[in-house]
């Protein structure tokens, strides 16, 4: 197993897995506590439409999917703020529109699109140096924005109190959803559209069960998100099973253990 770490594509897979695990589980804390768990799914499908559009236009899918998903994220936030439809409905509408657009773009493109299928289920072993570079860039951005955790946590705790303390809550909502969209797009290549939501929801939900405070929940979530990548990747390499599935099943096992511990 250790000699596998000498292989560049395995090194990239490991680095990508750890970065994705950390980024999704960090933002997942805010997403889950705001009851926006469905957002990960919605944006993963927006990423799918963006990838399909990129393939149709013969562009690198990532560069089309990033602005596409950010636009969808901002639109979801706008609809949430403007109407009383409820978050799940606002996300559900954009989810459906994204899938419809994705399928339409795919059908307009001549011939089979293997890349799109790879995006559907993710392929951690085919992460390119460019993909990894974008992930590192995004991780630096999230690190830079770490001080905003205080404002985001405060508005998550009580929106009204945050507004009374003059926090630009609506602006923070847009910023947070755009950041989630960026993280979802770069993660989708690794995790796959289908399993994207698990990376955002499960570590954060497990952390919620283990934590008396929101700070502890954040640390637990990132710890679990990063940790679950390791056995997942080892299983993928050792037993030749899909890495995304192995990681998500590890996350689910940890969730079950946390749930049992509480009883």
């Amino acid at each position: 197993m250790l000699e596998a770490l000498q292989l560049p594509f395995i090194q990239r897979a490991l680095a990508a897995g750890l970065l994705v695990g950390a980024l999704t589980s960090y933002l997942g804390v805010l997403v889950v506590q705001r009851r926006l768990s469905f957002l990960g799914d919605g944006l993963a499908h927006a990423a799918f439409a963006g990838v399909a559009l990129g393939l149709l236009l013969n562009q690198e899918p990532l560069w089309v999917a990033l602005p596409f998903a950010v636009t969808v994220a901002l639109a979801i936030t706008w609809v949430r703020q403007q109407s009383h439809l409820g978050d799940d409905t606002a996300i559900g509408i954009f989810f459906a529109v994204s899938v419809a657009l994705g399928v339409l773009f795919m059908s307009l493109r001549q011939g089979f699109a293997p890349d799109a299928v790879a995006y559907l289920f993710g392929s951690i072993l085919t992460v390119t140096p460019t993909d990894l570079g974008v992930m590192v860039g995004l991780a630096l951005l999230v690190l830079l924005l770490l001080p905003l955790w205080r404002a985001w946590a405060y508005a998550t705790f009580d929106r009204e109190l945050a507004l009374a303390d003059r926090l630009p809550v609506a602006l923070h909502d847009y910023l947070l959803s755009a950041l989630v969209a960026l993280v979802v797009v770069v993660s989708v290549k690794v995790v796959g559209i289908v399993l994207m939501a698990a990376f955002i929801v499960i570590p954060a939900a497990t952390a919620r069960l283990l934590s008396p405070t929101f700070a502890a929940m954040t640390l637990w979530s990132v710890g679990l998100g990063v940790f679950s990548v390791l056995p997942g990747l080892a299983a993928a390499y050792g037993f030749d099973v899909p890495a995304g599935s192995a990681i998500v099943l590890t996350q689910a096992l940890l969730f079950a253990l946390a749930l049992l511990r509480r009883r």
Binding site: Q33, F157, D158, L163, R166, P212, T213, A215
Partner: protein, 256 residues
Amino acid sequence: MTAVAATLQQFSVRFGEFQALEEVSLEVPQGAFVAIVGPNGAGKSTLLKALLGISPGALRDAPTRVSGTVRVWGRPPEQVPADWVGYVPQVKSFDHSFPALALEVVVSGLRRGWPFRLTPQERAKAQAMLEQVGAGHLAYRRLGRLSGGELQRVYLARSLIRQPRLLLLDEPATGVDVLGEADLYRYLEAYQRRSGATVLMITHDWEAAQHHASAVLLLNRRVIAYGPPAEVMCHTCLAQAFGHVGHAHGLAMEGR
């Protein structure tokens, strides 16, 4: 001449088809204790939020129309330094699932942000504040494990820790037992004596209002009456605010 803490002139708020407040004009003198009384949907919370500087549309999805002026110490409320104002929201608006200790909730009132780690000074200050409102033993209790009355104490400590000059409370006696309610008024009066702060409190309990407040605002979208409790709590005023007095009595009993 007494200094004025807050002024409203012809202040109206409309959410879609619903008129929440209609041409409300009033002046709150510095150091007053105003009890705001009125039926459900009378615009009481909308009025408090306007004084807080929360735009009435920020928490509503209906198209909102606002007219008239609100001034707090002569300024638009959103330009008043946030730490001059303490706010205790309604218990039912709390998210009980948020993982937090009572101590952190109190410190959030100092920081105007959510604390990642508490400094020893913050801990000590928040603990002392909780003890002042008879909730010292709750400091390390999780938010989700507190009763309505305990939560009210924690939120009161949170609003007082910044030593506000203006204290706004939205039904602070809801979910509190009779003993707790007596305590609540004791803390508020003690704080007011010490600081000279102005207090506006929404309540359904007009008997308490009569006892503790220096003025009562009887509101039903419009100002029905505003003045010393003995004058405002007259039969005709209450009948006008609540439709009929029997109903008003029912509300007063509910609030206890």
